[in-house]
């Protein structure tokens, strides 16, 4: 597998009125092409900060980030983000929200509309093009968030607690559909990095689970999840992975 993003001894500090706060400390790992990585850790472990550094929204305080072997500087347009609270603009329709990320990439309006329509179809949202976010259920809002991220055809999808604002049944459905999207060779993206505080969710979805310790966040474990999909939470092997992650967090 080819390395896509490599973090080498990456540390991130924030300057607060009461002094300097180290949120991430000497974090090193490599995300390989085609992998589904879940990052778990307690609140305040720096999980969301880590995603924003991978996306280039935040620079590291020290250490290196390489993208396809070259130093990453500024925003990495080969990544796209999916947010916990969807990040939709309420005054725009579904189609306009999906189109948003494309406007900076192409001036060709017809091509943009074709792409929007393609990804709206991919996530099962046709018929909702003219709807506003206020009219949508949480599940449909997150489908818009997914379609918007997929529409820019990123190499890596970065997801920050994408299911934690959803009710339990909707999150079951979207987790399954995310795996379908990941497996769909028709989609450009084939590498996913998801932050979650839900250990079962991480083991259900990911090839690898990175465990972050509490602040400052350090890599406390890097587990390969060697289970066939779809994974059943009641299986003994699944529960053993849950125990291993818990013991790394403890």
């Amino acid at each position: 597998m080819n390395p896509l993003i490599e973090l080498q001894d990456m540390t991130r500090r924030f300057l607060l009125p009461q002094g300097e706060l180290t949120v991430l400390d000497q974090v090193s790992f490599t995300a390989y092409e085609g992998e589904f990585i879940a990052i778990v850790g307690p609140s305040g472990a720096g999980k969301s900060t880590l995603l924003r550094i991978m996306n280039g929204l935040l620079p590291p305080s020290s250490g290196k980030i390489l993208y396809q072997g070259k130093p990453q500087r500024g925003i990495n347009y080969e990544t796209a983000m999916v947010f916990q609270n969807f990040g939709l603009l309420p005054w725009l329709t579904v189609a306009q929200n999906v189109e948003l990320g494309l406007e900076a990439r192409t001036k060709d309006a017809a091509l943009r509309m074709k792409t929007v329509s393609h990804y709206i179809n991919k996530v099962g949202l046709e018929g909702y093009e003219e709807a506003y976010p206020r009219e949508l259920s949480g599940g449909m809002k997150q489908r818009v968030g997914l379609a918007r991220a997929l529409a820019v055809e990123p190499a890596i999808l970065l997801m920050d607690e994408p299911f934690s604002s959803l009710d339990v049944l909707t999150s079951i459905n979207l987790r399954n559909e995310l795996i379908d999207i990941w497996n769909d060779r028709d989609n450009v993206v084939n590498t996913m990095v998801m932050v979650t505080h839900n250990i079962e969710e991480a083991i259900e979805l990911a090839d690898r689970v990175l465990v972050l310790s509490s602040r400052p966040g350090r890599i406390a474990g890097d587990l390969r999840i060697d289970l066939p999909r779809p994974r059943q939470k009641r299986d003994r092997a699944f529960l053993e992975y849950v125990d291993r992650v818990f013991s790394l967090l403890a």
């Binding site: 991919k122 099962g124 259920s137 959803l166 909707t170």
Partner: protein, 159 residues
């Protein structure tokens, strides 16, 4: 439950699919009471999701259990766009959606107002508050592409 006067539960399509996927992981059958406990959902809320799935012929409910129907299995095995097509056909067969679509088709300009649809719902589901079925009508109707709805002008239109 599938009669002309059935109200529409305010349940999203994703929740219905989530229920099916959960049941699939349990061999296609589960006790309703146990399911509600496992999901940490109110029994009434769980029943609303099951009712919605039953309206779409995805499950049936013999003796306190919920069981995935063959049609539910077909939906589970389909891709995201194929699922949409299968469910759209079933939604289109529900009397309330047929009536609203016929109402739209009867108009020369192919448009009706929100108020007109609420009046229609009051006729179709006389014992229920029409407003309570309105959100589900719009959501399911959009999903199945039976009609479009513009919230700015509060009008329904043929897609």
């Amino acid at each position: 439950m599938t009669t002309a006067s059935s109200s529409l539960p305010e349940i999203g399509i994703s929740q219905i699919l989530g229920l099916l996927e959960l049941l699939q992981g349990k061999g296609g059958r589960e006790d309703i009471y146990k399911l509600a406990g496992e999901l940490s959902m109110e029994l009434g809320e769980t029943l609303s999701v099951i009712k919605a799935a039953e309206l779409l012929s995805l499950v049936h409910t013999p003796g306190g259990d919920v069981v995935v129907e063959d049609f539910g299995t077909r939906v589970l095995e389909a891709s995201i766009p194929e699922r949409k097509e299968l469910l759209a056909t079933k939604i289109g067969e529900l009397p309330v959606f047929k009536s609203v679509r016929e109402f739209l088709d009867s108009k020369d300009d192919g448009e009706v107002t929100r108020e007109e649809v609420l009046d229609k719902l009051a006729e179709l589901i006389p014992n229920e508050d029409a407003e309570s079925s309105f959100t589900a009508l719009v959501n399911w109707g959009r999903y199945a592409e039976i009609f479009g709805y513009n919230d700015d002008t509060q009008t329904f239109y043929r897609p």
